[in-house]
Amino acid sequence: MGILLLFTLVLSGFLGALWPQGLMAPDLFLVLALLYARSLPYYLGLPWAFFLGLVQDLLGYGLLGLHAVGLLSASYAFYAASRRLAPGETPGILFSFLWAFLAKWAGYFLVAYWLRLVLPSLLPLDLLLEGLFTLPLLLLAWRLLPSPRRP
C-alpha cells in the first residue's frame, strides 16, 4: 500500500515534468484510490481515499479538503457501483471508473459550492481528456497489480 503511494508520488512528479503544458494530466491519485477500493473493505478504503486526497491537496498547495472530498466521493461511488456489477470484467470496470470519475468531479463542485469558490473555466473537453488519460492507467494498474480478494 505504502509503496504504491510512494511510487504514485514519484510518478506524479515525473509526469508533471513530461506532460504538455495546458493539457489535463491523468489523475494518478484517483487510480490509486480506486486500487485501494478494489482491494480494501470500505471502512479502510474510504479513509484511505480521503487521506490520498489530503496528500494531493498538500502537493497542490491548494485548499485542504478539496481533493480529499473528491477522492472520497469517487471511492464511495466505486464501492456502490462494484456492489452491483460483476467484479473483474471490463464493462464493469469501465462503468465503475466512469461513475467514480463523475463522483470525483461532483465532490470538487460540492466543495466549490460549499465555499462559494469561483470555479475555474473548465471545458467539458478537459474533463473528457482527463478521463481518457486516466482510464488506461487504471486498466494497466488493474492488470499489473494483484487483486486480493476484498474481505
Binding site: 514519484v10 512528479g13 515525473f14 509526469l15 508533471g16 470500505y42 498547495y61 491548494g62 466543495v111 460549499w114
Partner: protein
C-alpha cells in the same frame, strides 16, 4: 443493509470532515501546505527532476538528429560542389588545350572532340570522334592534340567522325625537319611508328623533330609530328629512310582538336 448504512455513515462523516477542513483551513491554505510540504514534496520533486532530465535528454537527442540531418545535407552539397569543381577543372583543361592549339597551330580550331572509339585491329590505326557533321566536322579536316599531329578526318556521319591517324598505313603526311631544310613524306607503320623518306641530301639525324610541311596541302605547316629514332639509306642510297616515333600517344587520347582544313 447495515453495511450500506455504515458505509454511508463513514462517507458522510468524512465528507463533513473534508468540508469542515476546507472551510476552516481556507484562510491558511497556501501557508499550511507550504509548512507541510517537506513531508510530501521530496518524492514528487524527485520524479519531477527525473522527468526534466528525461525531457532534456530527449531534446538533446532530437537536436543531435537535426545535426546529423544538417551534416548529411552539407556532405551531399560538398559532394555536388566537388563534382562540379571536377567538371569545371576538366572544362578549363580542355579549353586551355584548345587555346594552346589555337595559339600554336593556326588556322583555327573548329571543335574539341571527344575520342569515343578506336580501331585496335592492328591493321589500321583509326579513331572515332564523338562529334560529326552536325557539329561542323568535314572530311579533310586535320586533327591534332597539344602534343602534336593526330591525323585527318576521312569519314563523317551525323554525330561521329572517323580519323585516319598518322600511324595508319594509308596515311601520308608531308614532313620536314625542324632545323634543316628539306621535305619528305611520312607513312604510318602500325603499331607505333612512322617511316619518313627524304632525299639523301636532307640533313636529318636521330632525335630531330619533324614538323608538318605544306606541300601535300592537307595539314597546316609546323605541327609537330614525331622524333627521328633511327636512319637508314635505301634504294642504293638514293633515299634516306627515317623511323619516327610520333609525339602523340594515340591510345591515351581522350580529346582531340579539329582544325579548319587548308
Amino acid at each position: 443493509m447495515r453495511e450500506v448504512a455504515l458505509r454511508r455513515g463513514i462517507f458522510l462523516l468524512l465528507l463533513a470532515l473534508g468540508l469542515a477542513m476546507a472551510a476552516l483551513t481556507r484562510p491558511l491554505a497556501p501557508r499550511l501546505a507550504l509548512t507541510l510540504s517537506p513531508l510530501t514534496a521530496p518524492l514528487p520533486a524527485l520524479g519531477h527532476r527525473l522527468g526534466q532530465n528525461l525531457r532534456a535528454a530527449s531534446a538533446i537527442l532530437l537536436n543531435r538528429q537535426d545535426l546529423y540531418g544538417e551534416n548529411r545535407s552539407l556532405k551531399a552539397r560538398i559532394a555536388q560542389l566537388e563534382s562540379e569543381n571536377r567538371r569545371l577543372r576538366l572544362e578549363v583543361e580542355r579549353l586551355s588545350r584548345a587555346l594552346k592549339v589555337r595559339a600554336s597551330q593556326a588556322p583555327g580550331v573548329v571543335a574539341v572532340a571527344p575520342v569515343v572509339g578506336e580501331d585496335l585491329s592492328g591493321l589500321y590505326r583509326r579513331l572515332i570522334l564523338g562529334l560529326g557533321e552536325r557539329d561542323g566536322l568535314r572530311v579533310g579536316m586535320p586533327v591534332t592534340a597539344p602534343e602534336g599531329l593526330v591525323g585527318l578526318i576521312v569519314e563523317v556521319e551525323e554525330r561521329r567522325a572517323l580519323v585516319r591517324t598518322l600511324l595508319d598505313p594509308e596515311s601520308q603526311v608531308g614532313v620536314r625537319p625542324e632545323k634543316a631544310p628539306g621535305r619528305g613524306v611520312a607513312r604510318g607503320v602500325p603499331p607505333d611508328h612512322l617511316v619518313a623518306e627524304f632525299p639523301p641530301t636532307v640533313q636529318v639525324a636521330p632525335g630531330d623533330l619533324l614538323l608538318t610541311g605544306a606541300p601535300l596541302g592537307l595539314f597546316p605547316d609546323g605541327i609537330p609530328v614525331g622524333r627521328v629514332e633511327r636512319l637508314e639509306r635505301v634504294q642504293g642510297g638514293l633515299k634516306l629512310r627515317a623511323w619516327v616515333k610520333p609525339l602523340v600517344e594515340l591510345s591515351l587520347l581522350e580529346e582531340v582538336i579539329v582544325l579548319r582544313p587548308l
